[in-house]
């Protein structure tokens, strides 16, 4: 009798265990919030979503990713709003400095050195340089040249023009191009960061140089010094000579690739990332510039500028990457989940996809692809041909960079002189220096 009772209790206990174990195993997934930067209209967007994000979710059912995609200025504003509210998502897309300076300087991002461990050996050295906070907050998903000059060689041939080697050559093209109803260089600079990032940083690098930039930041030189004012004067000259139409300042950033593809000008100046806009969108099979015509598009840098001290340089910055918010506790399941996601986003497989879509040039050693369209191939070769100086908004604090950005637009529109802008930038520097003492 006792044995029967005991057996009955044992069976009940086993049933209870069997009923509970699956529930324990299928515990609630760990939720990771992600603030992601994505241009949903880019040709590579469909692959980015299906092959990178959806695949991670399928392969990691124990992690629930709540992703928020933003693009352009709204992305930066949202980041600042999250930072101000102290509610940063666990994983977020960040710049190495510049627009993400607040995150780095206030140490709102986690130092990932511990998590990275020996995996760091898989990346190129430039990718492992500490960011604006003085520590490694993220691995850049690519390297970026913020200045690239896209050349439509077919249009140049059609008009009987040759690739310019010097600024004088470029200036000489303005009249024949105007006669043919074309602009010389297209830049979509309605947003004020554009001129500084894609053009003026390169001019500054050529005429002033990185060494002097550090002197400006340390207060050893003034922005009203001749060398800085002269670099602004050269920038002004581009508009006076008609090399850049003043209308660039009312051309939306997103409109420039379509105008260039339509042959409105033989040159377009933008970041290297813009190459991706011309590639084939796998979801539609369409490309702004079809692969057979891409062979006639070359990527180079602005021709030689009179008086330049650095020759043939672009402006280069370790690109964006994914960082983890500092509020994620060390050793927690959230940290493990967030790091798993970041590791995937930095994996060779993902970097290969981004190389093919033109979204980024790999920072991992040995990542390559045999599926590159001609312009993506051209972009890969472009890096081998150039050297670089700093992108200004990566080094200058935003308090100084914003008056410079607006000042560059004002010079372009003829609303301010180079000296006036230089004075405004110096005033902004003085105020910044005073508040940071």
């Amino acid at each position: 009798m006792k044995l029967r009772k005991l057996t009955m209790w044992m069976v009940l206990l086993l049933l209870l265990v069997f009923a509970l174990v699956p529930n324990l195993i299928a515990a609630e997934p760990i939720t990771i919030r992600v603030l992601n930067y994505l241009d949903a209209s880019s040709p590579g967007a469909a692959r980015e979503i299906t092959e990178i994000w959806q695949r991670f979710e399928e392969e990691n059912p124990d992690i629930l990713v709540i992703r928020e995609d933003q693009f352009g200025e709204p992305f930066h504003h949202k980041t600042e709003a999250y930072a101000a509210a102290g509610k940063l998502p666990e994983v977020l897309y960040v710049w190495p400095g510049g627009r993400s300076a607040t995150l780095h300087q206030k140490k709102l991002l986690k130092d990932i050195s511990r998590l990275l461990g020996d995996e760091r050996n898989a990346f190129i050295d430039a990718a492992l340089e500490p960011q604006a906070g003085g520590y490694l907050a993220m691995i850049p998903i690519g390297l970026t040249a913020s200045h690239a000059m896209y050349v439509n060689t077919a249009l140049l041939e059609e008009l009987g023009l040759e690739m310019p080697k010097t600024y004088e050559d470029l200036k000489a093209m303005v009249a024949p191009l105007r006669a043919a109803g074309k602009d010389c260089i297209i830049i979509g600079a309605q947003d004020d960061w554009v001129m500084q990032s894609v053009l003026y940083s390169m001019i500054f690098g050529r005429l002033v140089g990185d060494e002097k930039l550090y002197e400006f930041i340390e207060g050893k030189a003034k922005f009203t010094d001749k060398v800085f004012v002269d670099s602004l004067r050269f920038y002004e000259q581009l508009f006076i000579d008609g090399v850049i139409n003043r209308n660039a300042m009312q051309t939306p950033y997103g409109e420039a690739p379509a105008l260039f593809a339509a042959g409105r000008a033989p040159f377009m100046i933008d970041g290297d990332w813009r190459a991706g806009a011309f590639l084939t969108d796998e979801s539609t099979g369409k490309a702004l510039i079809p692969p057979e015509k891409q062979k006639k598009i070359k990527m180079t840098v602005f021709p030689a500028i009179p008086g330049e001290i650095n020759h043939g340089t672009s402006s280069i910055v370790p690109a964006v990457g994914y960082a983890m918010s500092a509020h994620v506790p060390d050793g927690s399941p959230e940290e493990e989940a967030a790091w798993r996601l970041i590791s995937w986003l930095n994996s060779a497989e993902v970097q290969k996809i981004r190389l093919e879509t033109g979204a980024a040039f790999p920072t991992r050693k040995g990542v390559t692809s045999d599926k590159l369209e001609p312009l993506a191939q051209e972009r890969a070769e472009f890096y081998g041909r150039i050297s670089g100086t700093h992108v200004l908004d990566d080094k200058l604090p935003p308090e100084i960079c914003i008056p410079l950005n607006i000042g560059l637009q004002e010079i372009g529109l003829g609303l301010a002189t180079p000296l006036e802008v230089a004075r405004n930038v110096q005033a902004a520097y003085d105020e910044w220096a005073k508040s940071n003492k």
């Binding site: 309605q190 300042m249 009312q250 935003p398 529109l413």
Partner: protein
């Protein structure tokens, strides 16, 4: 007979009934306003406000002084004044004229015009902004049409500081007139037709009917519309943000955009942004008081 006790009970009942609304008002209107005012005189730089690592201190009125000395604040304020003017003296009269013309059957196809005039109001402001950005782009349809008539014509409308706001104001006129049109049309339909007929029998002309019968009857609606237009104009943001982002060189910025840029762009400055919002609130009150005074002085009586 009402006893003292009954009165006290009544008062308690009133207080109880009013309390939820007062609490709600305080939570969603009064508290944010007071809080914003406090932030505007502090040195808050983001993060935790209470018990954070950096204590928030009183900074006096320095943020107001800096706002006052910033030329982009004045550009934004000037643009806001333009928008107030186009709203009060553009959208409201145009909305009224269109509503009056339709109400008095001056056009055929009343339903069609009603739909066409109101249609922009149902489109998202972001879509409208992007649509008009493309239209006014230097390579857009406006340029192409003009170049068809005048080859070589350059579209410098948005890049010229003197004309940069014109496209924005035109779009605002097109976009918001429909709202006032509907308000006036609905209120015109409320006016007793017999009163108008009586005026006609007495020999009143169309203008006299409008001047002495319809406009006085609508004076309250006009004032309400003006208040809506003023407050709406001062918080203009979405359409301009989508259309120009306040550029080029902040020449199409407005106060709300200036505040947003100060708070969230580049180097966030929350106290100064709150100083801007406090100023916007005060400016809005001032304009509404002026509108009420004008109505008191010149408005008709709705009886």
């Amino acid at each position: 007979m009402i006893t003292r006790r009954t009165k006290a009970e009544e008062r308690r009942a009133y207080l109880l009934l009013v309390l939820p609304a007062v609490l709600l008002y305080f939570a969603v209107v009064a508290f944010p306003m007071i809080f914003s005012l406090w932030i505007s005189v502090s040195d808050y730089s983001g993060g935790q406000i209470f018990g954070g690592s950096t204590p928030v201190r009183f900074a006096g009125f320095s943020n107001y002084v800096r706002m006052w000395n910033d030329r982009y604040f004045w550009i934004s304020l000037k643009n806001n004044v333009y928008i107030v003017l186009i709203s009060v003296f553009g959208q409201i009269p145009l909305g009224f004229i269109l509503a009056y013309a339709l109400h008095r059957n001056m056009f055929r196809a009343k339903g069609f015009f009603q739909t066409v005039i109101y249609l922009p109001c149902v489109i998202s402001s972001v879509i409208v902004g992007i649509l008009w950005q493309t239209i006014f782009s230097p390579y857009g349809p406006v340029t192409e049409i003009m170049q068809f008539f005048r080859p070589g014509w350059q579209n410098t409308m948005l890049s010229n500081p003197r004309t940069a706001m014109i496209p924005v104001l035109l779009v605002m006129l097109w976009y918001y007139t429909g709202t006032y049109f509907i308000i006036f049309l609905a209120n015109l339909q409320k006016i007793d037709k017999e009163v108008i007929e009586a005026a006609k029998i007495d020999g009143a002309t169309e203008w006299q009917t409008l001047r002495h019968v319809i406009l006085p009857a609508l004076s309250g609606v006009i004032v309400t519309s003006a208040i809506l237009a003023i407050s709406g104009s001062l918080k203009s943001f979405d359409l301009i943000f989508a259309m120009t982002g306040g550029n080029p060189a902040r020449r199409t910025s407005v106060l709300a955009l200036y505040m947003y840029d100060t708070a969230f762009r580049g180097a966030p400055n929350y106290p100064r942004a709150n100083a801007v919002s406090t100023f916007m609130m005060a400016f809005s009150f001032l304009l509404i008081i002026i509108t009420k005074l004008v109505e008191k002085r010149f408005g008709g009586k709705e009886e």
